[in-house]
Amino acid sequence: MPEVFTPSPALPPPPSTVGAIGWMRENLFKGWFNSALTIVALLFIGAVVPPLASWLALDATFSGDAAACRASGGACWSFIAAEARLFMIGTYPIAHAWRPLVSGLLLLGLFVATARHLLPPLTAAALWLLLPLPVYWLLGGGLGLEEVEPAKWGGLMLTLLLAVVGVVVSVPCGILLALGRRSRFVAIKSVCVGLIELVRGVPMITILFMATIMMPFFLPQGVQVGIVFRVQIGIILFSSAYMAEVVRGGLQGIDRGQHEAAAALGLKRWHTTLFIVLPQALRDVLPPLIGRCIALLKDTSLVIIVGLLDFLGIAKAAAKDPQWLGFDAEAFVFCAAVYWVLCFSLSRYGKSLERRGHGAFKK
């Protein structure tokens, strides 16, 4: 009977190459330089995290007055809770607080509906374009609602209002500018190029100063536009130029075969642009458009320089409340956390769009 070769069972891999230990050897302690980096990083974490954690949470006061806060030595989150209304809606009258709340819910609902594709794209776009109307009505009043003057708008509400209206209006403006920039008519083209490059060449704060200080000079006598609206116009102007450049990138990325096929089918130039080129270009530039939205959301904080009390402005003001003096750090950390959550989730949303096939370079 021939002897059948039976290999002895394979030995398990050495314990130092698998599991947690193997992972650590591979990723943390591979070579002396790598190990030194790990040790430095660990020392850094050890120096930063414990005091931060004790300030943020362990020693922090979550309920109690300013005296209790000062005694604890940690962060004073009860201050944030006490000023919550100020942070959210500024000095908006508390009796009407439901109006910003409803506006916020409208915004949230529309955002979720769009992100989850619950609406046909054109309907969603139309609803976004119309969104400012009910929001201005709800916040400002009129037509049966008691009026609340824009000087009282503030806090997170104002930040979101400036950013959302800025985006919603500047995207169509940007599309027009981008199309104008690629126009074959020299006059239209040069006006668009001039406007886009001028706006992109100067800091946003100069545009805001222009809107707040110079715009009254431009308007005929007797015509007055409130500062919130002037700032909003400045933001739209600023954002449109950047949106235009994003859209232009998409337009340039459309294959020339698309133009040729449309021409072969006998489509007119405008029809080609409207039904063939633009939809594809916009789909491609969705991720960078989201990036511009994030940038705009952060940039709206500049309005505090021209005297509006947006979310950051309110944080600065709340820290000056005589009852709660000395809690600047808490106000700014809370403010930063909210901005961070908003911007980070938007950027995640942009990345997920890119993964789903939007974006010019991932087809």
Partner: protein
């Protein structure tokens, strides 16, 4: 790259006479735009003129030669309130340039360090780099600046309790005080030696490259250059009889006098700009490195290059081609972001201009000056970086 206008569209253009339908439409629509721009511009001009007259503001740049009358906290050139508005604005321009250039250099250093850290094989370092980038990028710059200024730097001790380093350096709420060098007679030799060393380094680099191409042996250029740049001035300094005096900061009355001082406004602006923009540059660097094919790294490893030299000789030169264009935009943004100085009171161009508007109401002129200078700076940065870009792209095979 797709051509701007495809031939198909040209085919569509009617080839009739001058009065073909296409030409008429084109002419009319262009005329309409021109008329709209000119008409709108005239209307704006007329209303503005009327408004200015009514408020009795005299337009024009005459005010630049009037006495400014306000003081400036931080100036690189000698300035007093009796100087003119024009000179005060110049102080602002210099401050803007100074903080922008310094931030660009430091943000590049931070960006490269963090970007390389993000792709590090060390898991912990990579995560720390990512946390840094995500933390800084998703919070408004203005918030970072104000936080730096009102929380971090306000936590420094008062003047009387200054942190004291050997009686030479003092740190307190009013700023960081450093000894100031005062050049004496023979200092020109030291400067000349340094200039000679710079020329020497340029010659050395060129020679080393030729030598490397000819013989294949590398010259330790970096070590030699650093040695040359340090040693030559040092030798000249000793030989000329130590021609340098130091002015030490000293507590006189309620404040420190003498020495060099770095004000908290400047420090907050610098740190904020560097940390914020550094995060963006780090993202560019990371994306550029990731975009270099994995095969390049494997080939380098197969040739026996250690990881450090692979990064330096193989990956980074190729990554630069993707990094430079996006980083140009970040530099331009950084220069524009420096205008946020106005929020924390560093006297840059915008904040000095703002003071001028508050005093004399010449808003249109001042805003025009801001815009003109920022446009010029942007153009300059773009030109410089385009030149760098061409340099990086040239190595095509």
């Amino acid at each position: 790259m797709v051509s701007r206008r495809s031939p198909a569209l040209d085919l569509e253009r009617p080839r009739g006479g001058y009065l073909s339908r296409g030409n008429v439409v084109s002419l009319l629509s262009q005329l309409a735009v021109v008329a709209l721009v000119i008409g709108g511009g005239y209307l704006l001009f007329a209303t503005t003129q009327a408004n200015l007259e009514q408020r009795q503001i005299h337009s024009g740049f005459r005010f630049l030669s009037f006495e400014a009358g306000f003081s400036i906290g931080d100036s690189l050139i000698p300035y007093s309130p009796s100087d003119t508005y024009g000179y005060a604005f110049l102080v602002g321009i210099i401050n803007t340039f100074f903080v922008s250039i310094l931030s660009i250099v430091l943000a590049t250093v931070v960006g490269i360090a963090v970007g390389v850290a993000e792709v590090s094989r060390n898991w912990l370092i990579a995560r720390l780099g990512e946390i840094y980038v995500e933390l800084l990028r998703n919070v408004p710059l203005l918030l970072t600046l104000i936080f730096m200024y009102t929380v971090v730097l306000a936590g420094l001790p008062a003047v009387r309790q200054s942190i004291d380093l050997f009686g030479l350096v003092f740190l307190n709420q009013r700023g960081l005080y450093l000894p100031r060098p005062l050049p004496l007679d023979g200092f020109g030799y030291v400067a000349a030696a340094f200039a000679a060393a710079v020329v020497g380094v340029i010659v050395l680099v060129r020679w080393a490259r030729r030598h490397h191409e000819r013989t294949g042996t590398a010259v330790p250029v970096l070590a030699l250059s650093v040695a040359l740049l340090l040693l030559a001035p040092l030798v000249a300094y000793v030989a000329a009889g130590l021609p340098l005096d130091w002015e030490l900061p000293a507590l006189k009355g309620l404040n420190f006098r003498g020495g060099w001082v770095c004000r908290p406004e400047f420090a907050a602006l610098l740190v904020g700009l560097v940390l914020y923009r550094g995060a963006f540059i780090a993202e560019n660097v990371r994306a550029g490195i990731v975009a270099v094919g994995k095969g390049q790294r494997e080939a380098a490893a197969a040739l026996g290059l250690p990881p450090g030299r692979t990064m330096h000789l193989v990956v980074l030169p190729q990554a630069l081609r993707t990094i430079i264009p996006s980083t140009t935009n970040d530099y331009v943004s950084l220069v524009k972001d420096s205008s946020l100085a106005v929020a924390i009171g560093y006297p840059d161009m915008v904040s000095i201009g703002g003071t001028m508007i508050g005093q004399n109401g010449q808003a249109i002129e001042v805003i025009g000056m801001w815009m003109a200078i920022y446009l010029a700076i942007n153009l300059l940065v773009s030109l410089l970086m385009n030149w760098a870009n061409v340099k990086a792209q040239l190595v095509d095979r």
